[in-house]
Subunit: 341 residues, 3 copies
């Protein structure tokens, strides 16, 4: 790992340094696993007990912990240590990860009609079909497939093995991880005489700027209009976004979430891991859905919503689950008792 | 978009046209977002209030809404507007999507022993191993991998990046979306002294005709016999089909569903998004499983089955969930009270 | 299928043969679908009724069923028939599946700095970046992408279309199925003024020996330290393993499970299909999580844990689910009644 000094860190990222600017740092790490060459941070006050005993060479803390931190050694004081940590990781990567100069790998299969702006990088064996447009500085990973008329905005990065369907558009500075499929057909069929008649999906997928999409996540194209992810949306791995879904700006979803077709999710929402949102529902801005919760009706009020069966030792769960099948009858019995008394 | 007239539409798809056959249509769209060049439809009577106020150039409706529709402008009357709409999308695509003539891309890696029928299209960088057979007019997308002895029926379409395992077979006119893995090993191990001994999976996957499989869905090969999807099955994205599962004809499953090994699902069933069906169970024909429901026993009677914790504001949910752990004890207390009185 | 004799089987795998060693066997199959050329087994005593009526040419049974088995024909007696069956499938595959001699396909794109040990096989169109190391006899499938500095241990097999991220390591004798993504970025962001600031993920993924990973499963790289799967872990398809998760040795997880970031799962655990384990939790060794259960607190005691809403006919479920929202109030009413009496 590269060696830096605390002086380098605050020169790049600001903050109020208490301690020797010449202190050398070789890694970033959590308080409990730090040594004297580690730059650590206290973001969650819950972990404050770790601070006095940490061996970290320097600790990033909020002003309220400045005294406690200074008592043990070097510290960087900043209003939001977690944000500082995020920017520190970015700065760290910019210093330590090898930057391969942009180039078009000769094994890529690129249609002559595709338009690649300045500084575009195309990895080995990528396929870029007719009329694709790629903005300046975008990086297309190995084995990506960009179908005809797809658009990738400037500065976006597609990891290896991403499929971007025909006519679909990704904004600027997006990050798309390996295995993502954007623009497969939405799931639409008309039932007829016991069979399913396919509804061809005529829309596309439109993704804003600064969106990140996790590995093997799928975003289907719209049936008539488009499926839309607004600016700043963050999706984790293995998420399903159905056709015509609209996800508002800066909404984040954890892994394995599923959003059924035509749902409208507001801005600044969070959806926990494994949560399911049924189709044709609306969630207003600032709705937070707990992990593994199933949203079966629209939500018109910001807040936290949950619905998970509490886990228990199997034998206890079995008893309670069996009784749950009688719950409505129990309510009636309770009512009858109340009347009697 | 291509311009067509209402005369063109009814010439191709039938229906009883009320209004000027020369009316030009440039797109298909929902009632509430239509303009005078939009051909729209009313499939669900729930949306009937949108009909009189829609600006659509023409509306596809059932006979019961013929009068209401005619009062506002042009209409196509047909017994099943949703089916008509489905066929309209198919006709629309056949007119508007560019058809690339079938060819074998020179970058594809094709074993000399593979048999490709007439009119087969193989995309860039696809890999086709020994003894593969591909039926007439099938299209194999970029980066697909067809392992030895795999079979793709006539007219089937594999999108980019599909894996079809050795000895696995897909029927005719199937559609397989990007990232699908057919024929990975089923999950089978024998426990021995705290470790897991692999059970090699000796079966394959057999898929009927007119099956559609969504992006990143996985269908494992059988342990001894085969995993089977009968004709007309429709699977959405990110679905897991375990080894030796048998899915009956024309059954449809929504995204993120999981079917554990050796389950037998009947014909004409539907499985909602995120539902889980445990292993070694049987579901008869015409069973409908609600989204996110866990099926833990076989179902011998057609019908709709559900099992989801109802979501609530987090604070309410917390109280009810905590109390749920005491439910069996509550039942005993209720009984005791009943006896006393 | 290859013909073998029972003498061949016991010569290779041991066991006590009752019956004619010259009996020819052409396949392995379940009791209920066997014919006279089938070698079958009785592993679960629940299926003992199938034994006397099976047409199998030979049956593998435990000593307790030796007499019952001998009464109907040939039998192999062994203490653990299921383990015997597992080894039989392995032996069968070694005899019947074509072994393609290891080679480096000329279409693969391999950086000159990559180190490939003896007997490494690289499939068509695989991409192997700088400083990758591949151990002896490892097989890298078609279209795999091994990013810079990745390591694959001796004897491991990567199916087609696997992504192994930069600096990530796989041990020896591992099996990785198609579509797996190892080493995508963990899902980490710092909130700031309504937006999300990316936390670059500085760790990697470290996978032990004898690990198997199912199709389209994702294992994210650590934020600061590494995400770790210890020896002998078995993961099914479509599983999400978040950043900094630690999975103990010989733990197995079924399809669609999701493990959120920084969870620590002990050794010899099992996680059922679709189960969710929230972040920053610890599960001790020998914890068994039932399918579709959500683990929301750490578990300090070995055992089986469950938490699933029992499914029911939809109309029954609706009544019970609606009443469940009043459960806490019901408890209060019950208390009030108890006090009155």
């Amino acid at each position: 790992m590269a060696l830096v000094t605390l002086a380098d860190v605050v020169a790049a990222l600001g903050g109020d340094l208490h301690g020797d600017p010449a202190t050398a740092i070789s890694k970033i790490g959590p308080l409990e696993a730090a040594d004297s060459a580690t730059l650590s941070f206290l973001a969650n006050p819950r972990y404050r007990a770790q601070l006095p005993v940490s061996l970290a060479g320097c600790v990033i803390v909020a002003p309220e912990f400045a005294e406690l931190a200074a008592a043990r050694g070097a510290a960087i004081i900043t209003p939001d240590p977690y944000l500082y940590f995020a920017r520190l990781t970015q700065w760290w990567v910019s210093r330590t990860r090898p930057v391969v100069p942009a180039s078009i790998h000769p094994s890529a299969v690129i249609d002559a009609s595709a338009l690649l702006a300045e500084g575009v990088d195309v990895g080995p064996l990528a396929v870029i079909e007719a009329d694709v447009m790629i903005g300046a500085g975008a990086r297309i990973g190995a084995h990506c497939v960009l179908e005809r008329n797809a658009v990738v905005g400037a500065g976006s990065r597609l990891a290896a093995r991403v499929t971007l369907g025909h006519d679909c558009r990704i904004g600027e500075r997006c990050i798309v991880h390996s295995g993502v499929v954007i623009g497969a057909d939405g799931f639409g069929f008309a039932p007829t005489q016991g069979r399913w008649e396919k509804i061809e999906q005529l829309g596309a997928v439109v993704i804003g700027n600064d969106v990140e999409i996790g590995a093997n996540t799928c975003i289907d194209r719209g049936a008539l209009g488009d499926t839309v992810l607004e600016d700043g949306v963050k999706l984790d791995n293995l998420i399903q976004i159905g056709h015509n879904v609209h996800v508002g700006a800066h909404t984040a979803m954890a892994g394995c979430a599923g959003i059924a077709g035509s749902a409208t999710i507001g801005a600044h929402c969070t959806v926990g891991g494994g949560a399911i949102i049924l189709g044709h529902l609306s969630l207003v801005d600032h709705v937070h859905v707990s992990a593994a919760t199933v949203i079966s009706r629209s939500i018109n009020k910001p807040g936290q919503y949950s619905g998970v069966f509490p886990f228990d030792e199997n034998s206890n769960w079995e008893k309670n689950a069996a009784t749950l099948r009688q719950l409505h009858a129990m309510r009636d019995r309770l009512r009858a008792l109340e009347k009697k008394i």
